[in-house]
Amino acid sequence: MGESTPPTAFLEVRDLRIGFQTEDGLVKSVDGLTFSLERGRTLGIVGESGSGKSVTSLGIMGLYNRRNAKMSGEIWLDGRELVGASPDEVRRLRGRHMAMIFQDPLSSMHPFYTVGAQIVEAYRVHNDVGKKVARKHAIDMLGRVGIPRPDRRVDDYPHQFSGGMRQRAMIAMALSCDPELLIADEPTTALDVTVQAQILDLLRDLQEEFNSAIIMITHDLGVVAELSDDILVMYAGRSVEQATVEDAFHRPMHPYTWGLLGSMPRLDRDRSERLMPIKGTPPSLINVPVGCAFSPRCAYAGLNEGRSESERPELREVGPGHRVACHLPVERRREIWESEILPKL
């Protein structure tokens, strides 16, 4: 792929592959992922545990040590290619152009430094300002993310904050340099629903304010539906469905997406007597099935005369901005969704 051209999109990931060599073999955590994202939009990435969501995000951030992780493909951020860039170049982009929020805010903050100091530090690597100015900025940021009395709390340590406040502080830290891309890796999983709602509101408001692009990683479809514009469903390191949220929830085209929707008990519908789980468990990423990775768990794999087992389905456009990787004919799938799945939800 020598002739790769800079894309027009703000963030474009092309055929990203990330693998880890372990004692037992190569773990293909991300296996040919392609997507793009525009400024001001939010992409939700969903998928089961171990499907490669975090690896993708850390890969984009350049947080993998190149000795341990095998990375290939292209990541274009605002016209710059990151996979081939030098580690120092990527480092300079981190924090300033792209920032990240992690799942567990307590373990993600250094226990020995005050919240303020950690924000100041983030701000000062990228901005040549004095300590006083940086501190004012930190207080300002804490205030912006809704921490009461930020001038006081700035000198507290992470363990003195409650869970929700910690996550707010993490967000403040991530946003301290106005990054254009914000990756949130399960930012609310550790939080209670009421607090989660607060954080989601905050993210929405901040996005309006900063117009940044957000990648929202979660396995809660509800969160995606609340916040995202687009959705990417991952399975075993690959993307199985990409669509706008409307399409994804109202016209999903991949059996795995159906499975996810069927597994969820929902407050917004009448209580169905039985949930419809996906059978089995996700495959090992060392021995991913050759064909469709989902085929062993797929109730409809049999309808393909074995193609699912031997041939890998490509992502194909099934509608505007809606791409799905499945061997089943589109019409057949539409039929199944409407007749078999939707009524049971």
């Binding site: 480092r91 981190r94 300033r96 373990s107 363990h159 830290m173």
Partner: protein, 336 residues
Amino acid sequence: MIAFLVRRLIGAVALLVIISMVTFGIFFLLPKAAGVSSDDLASRFAGKSPTPETVQAIKERFGFDDPVPIQYGRFVKAIVAGDEYDTGTTVIECPAPCLGYSFRTNTSVMDQLIDRIPVTLSLVVGAAVIWVLVGVSVGVLSALRRGSVFDRAAMAVALAGVSLPIFFTGLLSLTFVVHAWDLLPPVSYHPFLDNPLEWASALILPWITLAFLYAAMYARLTRAGMLETMNEDYIRTARAKGLPERTVITRHALRATLTPLLTIFGLDLGLLLGGAVLTEQTFSLKGLGALSLDGVIGSDLPVVLGTVMVAALFIVLANLIVDLLYGAIDPRVRHS
């Protein structure tokens, strides 16, 4: 804070009491159990050809025939209230805290301890500086270059350091470095205040020998800790902020790695300050360790008790200081 200190201090005193009791028991009850009579015990203080009267006199002075608890009581009383000793011609005042009087050397144990402490202190502190600097930097480098030639070599040397008895490395280095190659002056102790240069140059070898053992240990500990810390989420956060790798390592990883090492360091330092017996013996340094060894070999009970008490005190103090420092370094401890 005050409550914490008071509690720790009371605990420390209790610890010292128990240790003194056990020491007392081992040196009085054990020989008795092994069949040593109080006469034998007394004659150990009596030189070449003691007459029965001599033995009797010594026995009386030490009260060897009293029940052990009474003897112990005397010992404690002396610490708290001081004591006096009749040396035959003069009565020696031993003000509190009196750790007893050595009839073998005719000196107050306290005086000897005060005389010896600077030696051990010089030895241990000097060595500690070296081993912490060397051990930690080697450990960090090893962790960062895990699997490299440097890492393997450093860890092999570290293992060698842990595997060789100190009297072995000590005596060999003494022979070669000082005597065969004339690289350093003979090992001895010169007070720091008299001539700092002489003080240091005459102690370099024991410092290095002692530090070799501990640096090896600390390198291994640091490496393990560092590898663990580098996997912590907050290190990932620091990198995600775009901090340069050096800042990530020094400001974020190292601090977290070294904090738990502090506890071990405190214990090691405390133990050594109580007397680095083998090192002192090997290098003929007249520190607490040599004193306690002389005491044990010469059955000079007051000296043994005194050195053991001081050793225990050092350990207790070191632990206390470590705990306090911990509070300063780790805010989680401070607030709980």
